[in-house]
């Protein structure tokens, strides 16, 4: 598997980019729906990896290392967006998504696209770090330990943030149910 080395030429690193770009895009897409912005964030991720390649110690797989950088790039992006969009109005949700949300039938599964739309809007109500924690846990299926390592926080803090994020998400969704 291609991994970067301290004395790599940019051409060698391009092989690493080709190998891991799909994974990086998948992570970033969880936090940003716009594909052009995802591409910018992915480029930022690989540039950061290139600059920090001397710090990669080959003890853990490179995929974990680049994933961690991608999550941190996403977190910075969310913080910037939060500052920029502090005064955003209620999100515009599609009729189908709202229809599922207001349905009392608990056995009715939402369409994947509606679910993604609803979650994307509801997640904007959370703080950037709570959002990253709940995304890693519920959408990426990462363990508490992995999330703690990725974010550089304790496992207790991960559990607290995940619980708080779920409560806030439910509260945001209930607000839209009653609109």
């Amino acid at each position: 598997m291609p991994e970067p080395a301290r004395d790599d030429a940019p051409e060698d690193f391009a092989v690493v980019v080709r190998r891991h770009q799909a994974r990086v895009f998948a992570i970033l897409h969880r936090y940003e729906p716009d594909s052009h912005r995802v591409e910018d964030l992915a480029q930022e991720t690989f540039l950061k990896a290139w600059r920090a390649r001397a710090a990669f110690d080959h003890r853990a797989p490179f995929e974990h290392w680049i994933s961690r950088i991608a999550v941190r790039v996403a977190l910075d992006h969310l913080r910037r967006e939060k500052r920029r969009r502090n005064d955003i109005a209620l999100p515009e949700l599609g009729e189908d998504a709202l229809d599922w949300l207001r349905s009392t039938d608990e056995n009715r599964e939402p369409a994947a696209r509606d679910a993604a739309e609803l979650l994307h809007c509801a997640l904007r109500e959370l703080s950037p770090s709570d959002r990253v924690v709940i995304t890693l846990q519920e959408l990426e299926g990462r363990s508490v330990r992995e999330i703690a390592d990725t974010m550089g926080i304790s496992r207790v803090a991960v559990r607290v943030r995940a619980l708080r994020a779920r409560l806030k998400l439910r509260s945001a969704l209930e607000k839209w149910m009653n609109l």
């Binding site: 690193f13 391009a14 770009q21 480029q43 679910a115 993604a116 439910r170 969704l173 149910m177």
Partner: protein, 104 residues
């Protein structure tokens, strides 16, 4: 909203995958990497005392050998010419200089 409904939402959203990278993405990153400035070179710092001594060592060793050789040679010459009071003469001169009331 029930916990079950929230879990349904997560489960469904998990299956959504975004668009992958465009065909030229890696080349785009490569172009950006080529524009990256090279890492700064470490500024030359003050050489350490031991580095300076190491650099001077051959010359210092030669100088010490020359001094020792000169000393041995002088001793031999003085011994051969029977000028044994050379040391006494020097002592006498310096004593006189120190004891002069107005110096030179």
């Amino acid at each position: 909203m029930s916990r079950k409904k929230l879990d349904q939402l997560f489960r469904a959203a998990r299956t959504v995958t975004g668009l992958g990278p465009s065909a030229g993405f890696a080349d785009q990153v490569l172009r950006a990497l080529r524009q990256e400035p090279p890492p700064p070179l470490a500024p030359p710092g003050e050489p350490a005392l031991f580095d300076e001594l190491n650099a001077l060592f051959p010359r210092l060793a030669v100088a010490a050998l020359v001094l020792m050789a000169l000393g041995v040679a002088a001793n031999l010459v003085l011994g051969a010419s029977e000028l044994t009071d050379w040391g006494d003469g020097v002592t006498q001169l310096s004593t006189q200089w120190f004891l002069l009331p107005k110096g030179f």
